[in-house]
């Protein structure tokens, strides 16, 4: 039985927390006592195992979630855009000189349009209302899901990116 069994100097030695004098004294004991060396090995083994543990993987999106927990006091990146504009299409298009035909409605008219499209290269042009589509889609999804999380994104600026 080693008198070092309950002596925390072993850990302190392994952690480099002994003064030079204490370290010298301890190393002298080690040199003279095989049981002490065995005790040191046992504790060193445990210490090494814990220190050797790999970093635990963070759950997916963890840092983003942390960043999502901002408080009401945050001033970061506030654009001040309080009144969202519904239709951005007009603001961002290039003007075109092409003639535009009125859109048709109904199945019969669609068949006619198909024939017309084959016969004439200039086709009926639909003016896209993408901003409306997005907002209506979001509102519809919110109507069947959670209203707050479904609608709150509508209060953010709508930009069409890549």
């Amino acid at each position: 039985m080693s008198e070092l069994e309950h002596d925390d100097v072993v850990s302190a030695y392994l952690d480099g927390e002994l003064t030079p004098v204490e370290r010298a004294a301890f190393e002298a004991r080690l040199a003279a006592d095989a049981d002490a060396r065995a005790e040191l090995d046992d504790v060193a083994e445990v210490r090494t195992l814990v220190r050797g543990l790999p970093l635990p993987s963070m759950p997916a999106g963890f840092v983003d979630e942390l960043l999502a927990t901002g408080t009401a006091d945050d001033a970061a990146a506030e654009t001040g855009d309080v009144a969202p504009v519904l239709d951005l299409g007009t603001a961002q298009t290039r003007r075109s000189g092409r003639a535009r035909f009125a859109a048709y409605a109904g199945a019969a008219a669609a068949a006619v349009a198909l024939v017309v499209a084959v016969a004439m290269p200039a086709q009926t042009s639909a003016k896209p209302a993408l901003a409306t589509d997005v907002r209506v889609h979001q509102a519809g999804a919110a109507a069947s899901g959670d209203p707050v999380s479904g609608l709150a994104p509508l209060a953010t600026p709508l930009r069409f990116g890549r």
């Binding site: 979630e65 999502a68 927990t69 901002g70 409306t132 109507a143 069947s144 999380s149």
Partner: protein, 326 residues
């Protein structure tokens, strides 16, 4: 009014991990996950509170954030200081040109159960805005797609985070401050339902696909101006397909976005905070799909819609009565 989700009848592909007994007020044929979501909806309509939510969304250059004030009052919602109003499913947005009615249908769509396509786990959630929560994790194929934190006391959604295929957050909403919660009384004064509001259709067009993509089921149809909107849901994600006659006036498209080829058709794709927007033309009609589903799901949706000139490859004729969508 409480809206109960029904289980998708033919193809329950998911499973629920439940070890102990269920939640309060759980109907026999709904999963605990659906109950949590329905309860959350009802909780907003029956309580009054004021708070702030932090909304996040991913753009090409990283996450962007905005704080949005939220007020539940008189059974409805007022967000962003009253620029956004909701009551019983109807929604209005105040723009520079005045009020726009974004949704006018008060009927609840019968969306598939969350567990029709996804796995769910329910457990202890984090504290959000100083309130303890219950967490719902929605997964598929070993990936978490969405996570909710419901207020333990009243059931509201206090946090909702959505993840992309790569595991990164794509959208998030979290209460950062919430005041006292009281019972709602009275009824909210709302704007008028405008003439250009989306009009619900009693039955969808005869050529509407009943199912698109992987498990997206037709749950509603609206007339939106000159367009027809078909609303699809897979229990978690939604996709709207807008169709109108006429081909795309490419000059009128917003700048930005990317052209991608799909089955020989050029699709213009945009990423927005409201989801991905895909627009293309086929047989003299213009299609616009808006969805918060992943790129993989989008491809499946496009494939099933059919985008070549040979016509629809998977058209399913709508044959049952006007009030049944399945």
């Amino acid at each position: 009014m409480r809206r109960v989700r029904t289980l998708a009848c033919a193809w329950a592909m998911g499973s629920v991990v439940v070890v102990a007994a269920g939640l309060p007020s759980q109907a026999a044929d709904t999963s605990p996950a659906d109950t949590l979501l329905d309860r959350a909806r009802a909780a907003v309509a029956t309580h009054e509170f004021a708070g702030t939510v932090r909304v996040g969304w991913r753009t090409a250059s990283g996450m962007e954030w905005k704080n949005v004030p939220v007020r539940a009052v008189d059974g409805g919602l007022r967000l962003a200081g009253g620029d956004l109003v909701e009551d019983d499913g109807r929604a209005w947005l105040r723009g520079r040109a005045g009020w726009a009615t974004l949704w006018s249908d008060t009927r609840a769509p019968e969306a598939p159960s969350v567990t029709a396509k996804y796995h769910v786990r329910i457990g202890k959630g984090p504290h959000v805005a100083d309130r303890p929560t219950r967490a719902l994790t929605i997964e598929r194929g070993g990936h978490v797609v969405e996570r909710y934190a419901f207020d333990r006391a009243e059931g509201f959604v206090l946090r909702r985070v959505r993840y992309g295929d790569d595991g990164r957050v794509t959208a998030s909403m979290s209460f950062v401050q919430l005041g006292e919660v009281l019972d709602a009384r009275g009824s909210l004064q709302t704007p008028r339902v405008g003439g250009s509001a989306p009009q619900p259709m009693d039955r969808p067009p005869s050529d509407a696909h009943r199912r698109v993509g992987a498990g997206f089921v037709l749950v509603g149809a609206q007339r939106v101006g000159e367009e027809t909107q078909l609303q699809y849901s897979d229990g978690v994600f939604t996709a709207s397909v807008f169709t109108r006659d006429g081909v795309i006036d490419r000059d009128a498209l917003p700048t930005g976005g990317a052209d991608v080829k799909f089955d020989g058709v050029t699709v213009r794709r945009y990423r927005t905070a409201g989801g991905t927007v895909l627009t293309w033309e086929s047989r003299g009609r213009t299609y616009t799909c808006v969805t918060d589903a992943s790129d993989t799901e989008q491809r499946a949706i496009l494939a099933s819609l059919g985008s070549d000139d040979d016509g629809w490859t998977e058209a399913v004729r709508f044959v049952t009565s006007p009030f049944s969508w399945f």
